[in-house]
Symmetry: D2
Subunit: 345 residues, 4 copies
């Protein structure tokens, strides 16, 4: 059994980690921490877990966590992980960090989007945890920087086509839409029910921090500088994320080649479902699961490819992909703990 | 392995049966039927199931179903099951019927609420599948009449207190609220998004067919005629049901005795969680699960007990309880297939 | 023109007052105040108002407000109005207070539910602003205590029947359901979108502060002590409130007499619509309006009357009724500013 | 007083016309028709209207409608208006048609997207009712083809910039999102609450019939063939539409010039609000109103302009713009009947 700890277990992503790990057949959830709820059973914070998870939140201590766990999931706001992950690595722990702190290879790019980084060496050695793309590197990683939810939904559809030379990397637009749980559990005016319900809006237009994260990975995969225009929107729903992607097709690329390229690329990736039959992806089809469904159409009149990808922002966009990465790191079946039959609605 | 078939697999309750049975460690889902979608893979009807369930819907035939299954779940509109269940029983199959056709012991009561019954003998022998109350009878039953969602949420809190003599059965009121999935998947004006969203209303006030179902069971348990005033409401959410119950306390009954009575009664019932710590039940705490959470308060000023019970109408209120009943019938662990760690939100 | 000021204009009820008064044909909105947004145009706080209302929020000063207004609406949390209303009254201003501070006649009752009252004299002289019931008193009032949203929805259906002797005042239960806007605009965990969506729950069961408010008015109208069992619930919608009321019919009272009594009572009350044709009230039918729709059914089996009333919690439950009271106080058409044709959905 | 009739008054757009016209200070709603509800008071179909509109739906007859009205609004599915509008025009009536039948100038374009047109002559003479753009032509029109909701939200932001030469018409993408009321009131699986709630999806990707409508107008305004890539999405909300538009800036165009161009163009258009202060448009800000709010940002890294426009799909996207067109046709104040102060939330 893999012994796992969750640091920051009471945010939405942390609680989702608790859910998945507590039901994981090859892992044991041995410790959960929370500053705000230290001493409180997690089932008091999330009564749904009553009778299922009897762990009590503890205040974080590197020693206690290190003693109990082989792998540590850090589900904290950025800036905190860079302070605690180095010590965990020194103890020989493997870490999956769900913040932005270990997602970038370029310190300059990180610091331009966030703030000064205090563990640049470790950051440079960390592996970007986009499971389907970086399996080999993840396997041996000490620290995995788990991808942002938006980048996951944008990169999975685009990377195969970029590598396959099917799309023009100078033409990329990502129009993304996210459920409200992505904004986290801290009370704020912008996520109050009455402000979100019957509301649809964009935010941080062309200025979201997930944009440079996408750009770095796209650039790496393309071998040339890539900048994608990225506009996130807030949808009055809880879980779910959809990205609509626009790109010019290159040369003689067409819908058939796009479908073939995606199907081939993800042939051995059980969580990615390519909608080759024309099905339109719907967030409801992936709710509560680790799937990413990808559909597409070609606008024949101007040779523009439209792709639609959906994920559950808390699962494939956060906790689920983190556990998938743990499975890869520990050479377990990649779907372990993530294989439950999805809810039909 | 228990071989199970679902007749009527494409309605919401049927699809939920598919989900649970496809993930059940001790059962094998061998056949699913649908009039409307015969020949269509269930994963085309519910794309969420893609990659998880590869069964194709077939038109119903008693021979085909009988050959493939030990237990048959009939998830059809009332009136249809009474026509097909007798033949299945003749074949020695065990049946869990999710319609109203086998819930009543009194044909007169059934016929007053529904229409003439064509299998009265079988109906009278059937067992009411309120799992926690009728375990012993369910175990040996050929046919289980799976309870309605409203009766489940109303009876589980009331029966222990009635049997314990704590409440006045002449004073009962059930004010119930249901998510929209309870209305099923047939398109109708009343369940259109634009008619339900930002709408809250009662319906079939004191005239709902689940009322005589409750009355029959309450009367049986009380040993005296009981009629509960029952008012259902429609909540703009998908899954979830809450019943607020009002009853006069009898004699020296108080909150402490109520809590004790409920805790004792459900001590060995893992799906019923009594909120003795004052927690207020919330449909979100049981979403997607087979739990029934029960909370309560006493209005000291007039000696009235208020109870709140929540279930997921498609799980404990339909498919989940049906599988729980199958588990009881086949002497399996009662929680098999129903034990997944719940989603925190 | 009546010159009106709104003190506390940026909460949901305050903003709704701004909307109604800015469109009122017989009133002029001359001043709006806000502690948090002093100096900020209201159209920055609520961009919907852009191009319609160009007032700037000011910090509250009794002199400034007194100079500009004949009537002052105080839309502040309880405890603040008792501090500022006396001075406004001394200036000869008429006041409609939307908090609880001037709703009670009994200081003891107020102080048991809230905290010590520092303006008891004024409180005792204030008039309870349930417009349809206390028109005559409101007309001459210096201070109107605008009713709570729950009491409005509970008292309007009950009072005519109590006065008509049709129901047993010892048997009253109010099971009420409110949209989330009733909880106000201050960020809190309990009103975050992700905590409310797909959630239905009761709260403050038998312990809500609107309960003694109802009891005081019911007692006054009945001429005998009345205590109603009151349970509020939170509905995942924005605007709207429904109360389901239960009472034993007295003597030979029946549905017809109930309908007649209500129709007669509210014959000259344009905002109250009695559903004598069997229509079931729906919050969607009163959304954005000052209406209260009242429907009813009799449970013949046990002689229990069930009534359903719906209001928009921010309009008839707050700002709309406040303006209706202003209209009464200033001898204007009672519907002025409140007569817009409602949205069909 | 302008005498107005609504043909097809019980669909969502028709009912919204009833609401607006019944409250219009310069118009009198004299007749409403409905095939399905002939003989039924509109307040039975939409109880919100009770006490406000006492008209009874009648079966359509050209004589009856012609006798009662000066202007006729046809709110019917496409193909029906082309059959009845010619006769109304012969009677000298002026017509605002809310279907697609009179939106196109090119019969070939219409017929490619819809079906054969039986009143091509009239169609060619009709005026496209995008009020802010075609005021002059609308004024004298016998028949106005009221724009589709999507085209309204897409064309209002783009046309000024195209005419101003600020954007490359070969680079246009419209990623649009609509509330569910746009799908109408006919029951269908795709608009059931349980299928829409917690769901977000695209539909008719690059294949929506509003695409050729946009293309024809864009081409006319640009003076050169334009094709915009258009992808609509369905949002789990009732009213509201947001279009996110992407275009390459031309020459030295920048954000400042874009803002100036839009502000100048719409200086005398009270319903269009340009967010020059950086405000992000939100469907909640225009809910229930005839406004179109337009915001924008420039992605400096690749010179791409992002525009966001929001409307209420039933008002500016349908009934509101239709009444605005009537106002223009009858030389009334353009905002008459449409000037109510918006709801803050």
């Amino acid at each position: 059994m893999i012994r796992a700890a969750v640091v920051g277990a009471t945010g939405y992503a942390g609680a989702e980690l608790v859910r998945i790990l507590a039901g994981h057949p090859g892992a044991e959830l041995t410790a959960i921490t929370s500053r705000q709820y230290a001493g409180v059973p997690i089932s008091k914070v999330y009564p749904a877990l009553g009778g299922h998870v009897d762990l009590v939140c503890e205040a974080y201590s590197p020693e206690a966590v290190g003693k109990k766990a082989d792998v540590v999931f850090t589900a904290l706001p950025h800036k905190l992980p860079m302070e605690i992950v180095p010590e965990l690595v020194r103890q020989g722990k493997r870490v999956v960090d769900l913040s932005a702190d270990f997602r970038f290879r370029s310190a300059a790019a990180y610091e331009a989007a966030y703030q000064p980084h205090t563990a640049v060496d470790l950051m440079e050695k960390a592996v970007y945890g986009l499971s389907e793309i970086y399996r080999k590197e993840i396997k041996g990683a000490a620290v995995v920087g788990n991808p942002g939810c938006y980048p996951t939904s944008v990169l999975l559809p685009l990377i195969p086509l970029i590598k396959g030379g099917l799309i023009d990397t100078g033409s990329l637009v990502a129009d993304s839409k996210s459920g409200v749980s992505g904004a986290g559990r801290s009370p704020s005016l912008t996520t109050l029910f009455s402000e979100v319900h019957e509301s649809f809006k964009s935010y941080k237009v062309t200025a979201h921090r997930h944009n440079p994260e996408m750009d770095e990975v796209l650039t790496r995969e393309a071998g040339d500088p890539v900048h994608i225009t990225f506009v996130p929107h807030l949808v009055p729903m809880n879980r779910g994320m959809l990205s609509t992607l626009y790109a010019r097709l290159k040369g003689d690329a067409d819908g058939k080649k796009v479908g073939q390229c995606l199907s081939d690329f993800y042939e051995k990736s059980p969580f990615v479902r390519i909608c080759n039959d024309g099905r339109i992806p719907d967030t409801l089809h992936v709710r509560g699961t680790n799937h990413c469904d990808i559909g597409f159409r070609v606008d024949e009149k101007n040779g523009r490819l439209v792709m639609m990808s959906v994920i559950d922002n808390l699962v494939k966009g956060a906790a689920g992909q983190a556990v998938q990465n743990m499975n890869i790191m520990f050479d377990t079946d990649e779907t372990a703990g993530l294989a439950a039959v999805p809810y039909p609605i």
